[in-house]
Amino acid sequence: MAEIVNENELLVARERLAAQQAELLKALLANGPAPAGFDEQRLGVERRALLSKRRGIVRMLGPAVADELGDRFRPLFDAYAVENPRRAGSRAREDAAAFAEWCRARGELPEKRKARWKFWQSN
């Protein structure tokens, strides 16, 4: 039957695992060096798959931004994404908003116009 793992052993296991998992995510999300023992080509496949998923979510949440950027959306998003890996605890909507802000700061999107009061909206 299963061995009982004592608290100290578990703590040590957590630390080793934390280092492995952090190294992998850094490589996949933030241009970190390839961790030892992984197939480099597969790391590339995974990196592109994660980026593509994130890009698709941001496109879905902010279609107006994607439309306005047109062909520039993909290269700009990919550059933004590697500079700004998603932080644990952040939300996808915050990611979409941060990307739009990043584009504005670089002059890729016009400054946000002041919202005009519209009589058919309550605020």
Partner: protein
Amino acid sequence: MVGIKDLGVGIGWRSEIDLTVERLPGVDFVEVVAENLHIGHLPESVTLLLERGVPVLPHAVSLSLGGADPVDLHRVEHLGAVAEAVGAPMVSDHVCFVRAGGLDSGHLMPVPRTRDALDVLVANVELAQANLPVPLALENVAALLEWPDGELSEGQFLAELVERTDCWLLVDVANLYANARNIGTDPERFLDEIPLERLAYVHVAGGEQHGDIYHDTHAHAVLPEVLEVLDELCSRVAPPGVLLERDDNYPSDTEIASELAAIRAVVDKHRG
């Protein structure tokens, strides 16, 4: 287990296909993504299904139980609250990690199949179980890459997880197929090694082959090869339920209905 037997054939409820799910014949149960629901504001469509007596099972994607970080109990509590709100007999998440080193992968990442990873996973699962009102089932994920220095096969890893935590298994046959294509998992050996008596239910999904990689997209049709893995599973055990997951690029009602019918045909073939 009371309440989970004979779920039948189901589909993942998504807001984009809420009307489809409501009107399709032969939807015996549904799953909802727990993170997308707010207690007290259940979607009308989910309420309608509950009123019809359709079982609704919460499925979580963010507990990161295979992660090295301590379990986020707020996420566990939310999952439990969703279970109570829909009267579910069981909840589920994945054998994976989502977050590490302060980053969020946005995806269900495979864990290394090492003793370290298993010990941490067991501790995390036990803590989650202690804070959930109903039993927990855990699902095998699709991997695009293989961790080095694995000490156990995927089947052995899951078998030991079940033995040590008494959790249930949610076997995704599309993920099993993906791992066979991408990292050389042997589906028959996997099915031999896992405790099938702890099978909660089964997932089926579509995907796409790109060069030498199979992508588990949930946005394409279910491959016949994936139904063959389901067939292999059904030849060993009658699964309590089988559920189709579709998350994007939604097809017509007719196409979804035919995928559900194809799943049912495989299940029924073994029921005699």
